[in-house]
Each structure stands twice: as structure tokens, then as C-alpha cells.
């Protein structure tokens, strides 16, 4: 499937901003089943300086500064990405999570640092006693790694309620667990905290998901949103994705944009402003499939 993803963010400030600097993760990364055909990021007002490079986790990132006074900031990202379908995955196969050896390489082999770095808790996925308790029914001794992840995916979907007002960007997993509600970001964090409590390597994935309008209804412009889920590493399969918000294992309707330990590593737009006072932000996201069955009429 080929998608066109557009993400338009506009900030309106109450008073003049004299300087602003931003970190931007709005460009898709190439991945195993995913090819980036085109990407464009347009910013108004034109940044005084801007540098595009790869961040620590291998994601495309833009760092920029605007040193002219402004009251409004608009960022438009347009990307064309092709996502291939994956083969079937048997979550009940594979090594048990508590079997020694899968975490550390044999003495004569190099350690895969990309796997090792995702095994430890991060600030938002810290292990508290409650997290450990919640994880135990899923991380039963002898269970295969992917089965643990799938069990967590299902339990979080059942136990938690979607509520975009209960949490904010900085809510850690322990608080999500207490509130029993949150958004995709929170559910991903909780799953990661549970897995990493047992030193299972798991990473946070940000991206987009294809939404289908109700039958007979037209697709609403700008009504999509950015999404987040998690990915677990197993020695037999490598990285496998799980989406606890939708209780499924992503296929070609999830488009990954960035990987990190948690939200804070790859937030789509963050920035530091001088001035500006309060601000109002508008986000419009469109995920439009341009090939295949669901291609819209022009």
C-alpha cells in the first residue's frame, strides 16, 4: 500500500515570540517493510537556521531556530510511503522470555546494541512495584517473548479506557496504571514499562494509522491523528509490532515514522520559545492511501 501522509501544525501565539527553536520528528524513517518515496517539510516563517540529520535512534530529525519575531508558526510535512504486508507471525512460538542467553551475546559475539539499549527502563517507563505487579500475569515463567507482548496488548486494551483528557505528554507509565485511562502514547508506555521490568527489549514506535470512515460516509479532511504503539524484539523474528490501543498486531495499515525508548525521544514537535505567552495549536493530519482498493476518487 502507498500512502500520502500530511501533517499540518499551526501555532498562534498570544504575544510576539522573539526566538524559537524546535526539534522535529515529522519525517518517516525507512524500515523493514517500508520505503520512503518522498518527504517534504515546509516551515513558515522561514527558519534562520535549520539542520536535518539522523538522531541517536536513526530517525530523521530537523533542528531549527527562528530568530525573527513572529506571532504564528506553521509546519507542513508531506510524505509518500510504501508499506508492504507482513507474513503471518506465530506469537506462541520462540524462546521463553526468561530463558537465559537471549539478552546477552555469547562471549565471542558482538552484542547487538540496538537491542540492548531498549531493554532498560527510561524516565516515562520506570519500573515501580505496581508496574511489576501488573506485568506478572503476562510475564509468566516459560512464556515466549511475543506471547508476553500479545497478552499485555490484550490486557491493556481490556483494562484501560481511551480518554484524551486524563493524561498529558509527560504522564509516566506508573500514573497511567493508576488512572486506568489515557491515549495511545500512554498505553505504549505502560506496555514498555512492563516488558522492560523484565529486561525484555521493546521500543516505542510513533507513526500514523489508516482510519476508515463509517460505511457510506466520506473521509473527513484533517481528522486523522498521529499514533503510537510498541515493538518487541525476539531472537527468531527480530522486531515485531503490537498496538494495545487497537488490540492488534500492525500490518500495512500502520506507518512507522520513528523509534525511540519513549515518547520523549521522538515527540513530533517540541520547542523552546522566548516570549509568546499562551498559544493555540491546530493540528490536521491526513492519511490517504493512493493505491489499492481504498484509493479515493479524484
Amino acid at each position: 500500500m502507498i500512502y500520502e501522509v500530511s501533517h499540518r501544525t499551526s501555532y498562534r501565539y498570544e504575544s510576539t515570540v522573539t526566538q524559537s527553536q524546535h526539534l522535529i520528528h515529522l519525517a518517516p524513517r525507512p524500515a523493514a517493510r517500508q520505503t520512503v518515496q518522498r518527504h517534504m517539510l515546509m516551515i513558515e516563517p522561514t527558519p534562520t537556521w535549520r539542520h536535518d540529520f539522523r538522531d541517536y535512534f536513526g530517525n530523521p530529525i530537523s533542528v531549527l531556530g527562528i530568530d525573527n519575531e513572529h506571532r504564528e508558526l506553521v509546519m507542513r510535512a508531506h510524505s509518500t510511503i510504501e508499506v508492504a504486508r507482513r507474513g503471518p507471525i506465530d506469537v506462541t512460538a520462540g524462546k521463553a522470555w526468561d530463558e537465559a542467553g537471549h539478552r546477552q551475546a555469547a562471549r565471542n559475539h558482538d552484542i547487538d546494541l540496538d537491542v540492548a539499549q531498549y531493554a532498560l527502563p527510561s524516565p516515562a517507563t520506570a519500573t515501580g512495584a505496581a508496574v511489576l505487579d501488573y506485568s506478572r500475569p503476562s510475564a509468566r515463567p516459560g512464556r515466549p517473548i511475543l506471547a508476553v507482548a500479545w497478552d499485555l496488548t490484550c490486557r491493556i486494551y481490556d483494562d484501560f479506557e481511551f480518554d484524551s483528557h486524563a493524561t498529558d505528554v509527560s504522564t509516566p507509565a506508573v500514573d497511567v496504571l493508576r488512572k486506568r485511562r489515557g491515549v495511545c502514547q500512554d498505553f505504549a508506555h505502560l506496555a514498555l514499562a512492563c516488558l522492560r521490568a523484565h529486561r525484555i527489549s521493546a521500543r516505542y514506535v510513533s507513526g500514523y494509522i489508516l482510519t476508515r470512515p463509517p460505511p457510506g460516509m466520506p473521509r473527513l479532511q484533517g481528522a486523522d491523528a498521529s499514533h503510537a504503539w510498541f515493538s518487541v524484539w525476539a531472537p527468531e523474528t527480530g522486531w515485531v509490532d503490537f498496538d494495545p490501543t487497537n488490540r492488534l498486531m500492525p500490518n500495512d495499515e500502520h506507518i512507522a515514522f520513528a523509534y525511540g525508548r519513549e515518547y520523549g525521544d521522538i515527540s513530533p514537535i517540541s520547542g523552546v520559545l522566548l516570549g509568546g505567552g499562551r498559544h493555540h495549536v491546530d493540528v490536521a493530519v491526513d492519511v490517504v492511501p493512493i493505491t489499492g482498493d481504498s484509493r479515493p476518487a479524484d
Partner: protein, 854 residues
Amino acid sequence: MTVDAQTQERQLDLLEAYGPTGGTYDELVGPDRRPRPHWTTFLHGLRRLTSRDRLARASRLDRQVRETGLVHDVFADPETPQQQWRLNLMPLILSADEWSWLERAVGQRARLFNAILADIYGPQRLLRRGKIPPALVFGDGSYLRACQGIQPVQGHLQFYAADLARSADGNWRVIDNHAETPAGVGYAVANRVMHADVTDDLFSECRTRRISNHFSGLQAALAERAGRGDPTVALLTPGPAHGDYFSHAYLARYLDLALVEGGDLRVVGDEVFLKTLEGLKKIDLLVRCIEGRKADPLELDPSSFLGPSGLVHASRRSPGMMINAIGSAVIENRGLGAYLPSLCEELLGETLLLRDAPRWWLGDETARQHVEARLDEYVIRPASEGTGRPGQAVRGRVAGVLSGDERTQLISDLQRHGETLVAEQRAGFGTMPSLTSQGLQRKAFGLRLFAAASSDGFSVMPGGLAMGVDAETAVALSTSDGETHDVWVMATEPERPHASLWRPRVESALVQRSQRTLQSRVADNLFWLGRYLERADWTMRVIRSSLGRRLEYLESAPTRHAGDVCLEMLISKGAALSIPVGSRRVSGRSATLAGQLASERESTYSLINSFDGIYRVASLTRDRLSLETWRTLASFRVDETWRRRMAEASVSELQDEIEDKLSLVATFSGHLAENMTRNFGWFFLDMGRRLERAYNLCDVLQLLFHAGQSDDESNEHLNFILRLADSYITYRSRYRLQPMLPLVLDLLVMDETNPRSVAYQVAGLMRHLEALPQQTGSNALTRERRIVLALQTAIRLADVNELATVGPEKIRPALSLLLRQALKDLPDLSDAISRRYFRLVDDEPHRVVLRHEA
């Protein structure tokens, strides 16, 4: 008794209390209890002194510490007892041989850590091959992913410090490493300056090595690193609220670096700028004294604004600019020690000279199980801990003394995040002598040594910081008594002066007499220092003038005492306070009012508030003050006892105290006037003072003269104001007449040659404003110059006879109008100056984020 016998007796006294070593290594005496050879010259010198001399020197040292300001944290509550910084008269003496080994060993570690950092922030081969466990690095909050790939060609470390302890077998071992900041080197320098001053003769006799060569080498290295001879080097401090601020300010002064806070800096693209009165000025090198993880709200800890936004990116683009590189603290991880011997072989091809105290990193499964099984033998501590003030290391959890719950918690912590913990055995510390009133006493100590990169490798400062430790509980530099010692290194040969690359440039800079750039924040503080000094001076003059005339009024007081009126007005400023009615006896009432004005915290003009203000803002600008000025500063620190004493003081007590403090203000102002160059900083200090003085005088003139009075009253008021404004003598010598209002007004308001007059202050303000950078493109007058010009013109155009004329409503309309203008214009002027020079249009920075919603 012969001279020899006397000497013998003193020697006995000196070492009498110096008990047996008890199996530890002692610096002063060997196992035979005889002093080691490199101590003999010093002991000989010490024996020459009587015990009284020794104590006199010790108390001189105490005073130096107090006056240098080492005791207090600026913002600490004056009422709460603080840990005192103490400096003992006994130095720790190290022999030349021992030093040459330590120097090599500490230098080797610095090189090793540089190589490790280059790998961790580069290819990570050591991690991939398990030479360093990946989880040790990945689980350490000091490892900053945003800094991956930033590789300064000069190495990550410009500064490195090691905390050492001496084992019973005489070997040194490292108990902590410091790679984040210069780690309190400012304290070591301050200790040396104070200690060398008091032990002057002994210091030279012992042929102690000086530390100045080390620092001129460092300056040369900085100039080389910046690639130019006169680089702008700034030291970035978290600010006065930080426990180490003293060290930062002292180091900045010593090395002639600009002391800056995050808010003083601004990053534009690849470069870091300092906000100064003349606009943005580019910085060549930034010496970082803030924690790496708090250095940039954009890419690191989003809640910390200690560093300017964008700093990581600026150092990504110019890695050599940041000293030490951001993220360098990861090698402080205590778990790393066990891996260092093999890393040293691998990276340097050398045997590690100086080993770490035995420690087990609990991210290793085998080590964790071993430690859990023998928990009572260990102290459990965080593997990584921020760089704190020397002596403030966290003490750790001693499993043996924990309660049941605490023990359960500890075991759960080990299992849940062993990666962040280490287990240590209490291996004990060596001992050294400390001079007490009972002679020399043995005490456990730790030693911090400081290394800095120079053009030919690392140079280790020949000196250091020795401090008493709690041998029973400590496994790091933790101390409860805060006692420190200077460290003396014996020279083998006379020292050659260091050939500095820096000096010639300094000379050429002197010829230029270029104005050192002034940070907006510092200008702000100096302006307020001027205001508080003048305000304190004025308040005390009002009190003195009110009390001083009491005798003349004991007989008859037909009118309200001018002094009391002024006291009441000043007390009521800033708060609605009840003015005590007090005794009918005038003297009693004046004393009550004066006591209240001295001690009332609610009143803006009270002495205690002005002193607090002086102490606070002067402390904030310490790096701009001369050392003498800095010493006087400590006397402005008044406490609750002082406040209570003032509130209840008798007239004569008040008078004595006021005279003392008036001369203190005069001394302090004198030091400022003598020692500050007449640059922008001075302009702001002086403007603050002039503005305050003009305002206060106008305020009292308005109070006393806006209404017409009886002759008696008028006479009394005129005498009072002449004394208050220190112009009595001038008036008498000029007029030889009884005070008359028009003449007094001429002298106090209009006369631009009288340093106490309003016109004189306004003219001074005008001069300074004209000399300051204007920051506007056009030729139009700035707002602040408009205000001053209007006020100056109004004063010049006024007619003294008209000012003195009483109108039909029993008031003096012209005088009142003029003074009202001044009382409105002067505060407006203060605001206008703040707006233009201090804020530079910046608000507080804040963050915006966008979340993953669906």
C-alpha cells in the same frame, strides 16, 4: 630551662595527643611513630611557634574563611545553622616522589577516560564487545543520547578530578571520579590563597610548590583551544542558589572568565552568544559548571533552563567550544572501576597505575547474587550521582543497620534496577594530623586532586583539597565536620616560571583598555547594589540625625520633631504599619522609632532589609568585586539576634551601632570606588546610588517643607535637613547666617556643585546615560534620557525665592510641584533603565510540545 629543653617540651605537647595509628596508614608518622622525613621542616617551623601563636594563626585562618565568604550560601536562610567551611592550619604534605607518582597516575586516568568517552560517544566498540557492559552505560542517566557523535578533537575532558583514599598498605585508591565540571577546584584555590597567607613563612621554608603555573598552563591551553589569543571564555554556573556557586565565582575571578548563567546566553545556530549591554557577543569557549543533562531544555531535560536552549546543537556543530563536553559525566559511573584495568591495557597499552576502591556493579547478575548473599558486608550506593559540593557525597545504604522494611526495599531495588547501583566494602581511610587546641590529633581524610588538559597532556595541580571524612560510614568524600586542609607538594628543584602563551596578549589588551563586556544581569545587580547602599546610608543618617539632637529637645519640644516625622515616613514605606505612640518624652519616642526602622522587616526602608539587599546583590556580582570588597561584604550579614537587639536597643546602643554600620557602608563604598574600573559596571552602580539619593532627599524635602510653618519649626527643620544631607558645614562656611529656606533650597536642590544636592545627582545620571551604549538606530533621545533632561531642565529653570514662597493655602506650590515631578520621574527613570538595559526583551523561555494523540 635551656632553649633546647623548651623546644623539646613543645614538641611533646604537639604530638602528645597524636594517638596510635590503629592499623591505618598515617601521613605524619610511620609505624615507628616518628615523623616521616618530608614533614620535618614543617614540624620544625611549627615547634618554633608557641601554642598561643599557633592558635592565633588558626583563628586568623578562621577569619579569612569567614571574610572570603566561604561559609555562607548566598540564599540560605540566615537563621538556620549551615555547615561551616573550615580550613585547618595543618596542611597535608606530600613528598616530591609520592607526588610524581600521583601526578602520573591521575594524568593516566584522565587520558584513559578521554579514550573511553571517545568510544562511548563514538563507535561504541567497547560496549559491543562487552569490555564495558552496555547496560552500565545505557542505564546511566548521565549518558546523553543527544550527544552521540559529538567528538571534540581536543578530547571530551578539559577538567578531571579524582577523590582518593589511602589504604592501610599505603596504596592510594580512587573512591570517586569527577568529569562533569571543574569539581570544586575553586575551593582548592581559595584554600591555598588563604592558607598561604597565614602560613607564609612556613610555606616558603618547606619549598612548597605553587599552583599558579598549573593555571597559567590552563589559560594557555584555553587560548590554544579557542584558536586565538584573547578568547572570550565564559564559565556557566547554575547561579547563586547552587551550593558550589562560591567555587564557580572564585574560579571565574581567578582565571578571568566571565561568570554567566543560562539566561545570559543565547544560541543562534552554531554559535553561543552572551547578552551584554552592547548586544550579543560571541563566546569562544564555555566552561560548563552545570550538569550535562540539565544543559539544554531543547534536547535534554526539558524542565531545566540552567543552560540556554540549543546548546547541544551548538556543540554538535562546534564540539571544541564546550568544556567539558556535555555527557562526559558518564565515566563517573562507580560501576566502571572494575573494568578500568583491562580498558587501560586495551586503549592505552599501559598498566593502570591507580586503581579504584573495590566495587561491584549490580547490573551484573553474578555480582548481584554474590552481594545479596552477603548483604551485611556492603554499602549500597547509586552508581551515578551528580557532582556535588566536595564533602557532600551521598552516604549510601548500609545493609547491616537497615530495618526490616528498608532491607526488603533494598533487595527489591537490587533486583529491579541493579544497573544503577554498586556495592562497596568499607575499606577505611588513611589518617592525617589536624591542629586542635589539644595539639595535633589524628583524623581520617580523603583527598581530591585536580587535573586539567594542557597543550602537552594532562597537568595535575600540585596541591588539592584534603578533607576530614567519617571513616565509619563513608566510602566516598562525605564529611560531617566540613574541615578541610590545604595540600602541600614538596618541590625537588626551584620552580621555573611557566612560559605562558597568554601573558603577551594580556599586555596588549591592557594598552587598549577595552571595556570588558557587561552582562545585562550583572548591570542590573550593580544598579541595585548602588540603590541599597545609598538607601542604607540614608536611613542611618535619618536615625542619627533624629537621635543626635535629643539633648536639645529634652527641655521643650514645641513642635513635632522633624526627625520623628522622617522616621515615621520611612517606617511606613512599603507597608501599613502602626507607628508606636510611645513615651511623651521625645527622646524615648525617637529611640523606639529608630529601633523600629532598624529592625522592621515589613518596611521597605528598614536597615535590615537594606543590608539583606546589599548582601544579596553584592554576592550575585562577587566576580566583579575586588577581594577586599568581598571580605567587607560578610559584615552586612545580619541575623535575627541583631534584629532583636536593634528593636530593643537604647539610644546609645543604637547610636553606636549606627556609627559602626555607617563606617562599614563607607568602607565598602570606598573599596568599590577605589577598585572598580570606571566602565559600564561602575556607571550602573553609580546611577543606582544617584537615583536613590535624589529621590530620598526630594522625599524628605517634600515632607518637611511643602507646607508653610512657624519660624521655630522652620528653623528646626532647616537645621535638621542640613545635617541630614551632610551640608551643614558647607552652608555655614558659605553664608555664615542662620539657615534660610531659599538659601538651603539653593544648596540642596539647585546647586550642581554640591555632591549632596538633587541637581548634582541628576547631572551625574545624565552623564552616565550619555556614555552608555544606546542600542537604538535613530538619533532620537531614549526614554530615560528624556526623563532626566526634563527633570534637569525643571530644576535649572526654578527660582529659589519662588520655591520658598508660601501660597494662600499655606503650602509652597512651586516647591511642591517641582518635588512631585522629581518623585514621579525618578521611579519612572529606574523602570526605563531596567527595561532598556537589563531585560533585553527576553521573557522566561518555555516549552511547547505536541503529543501522539490517537
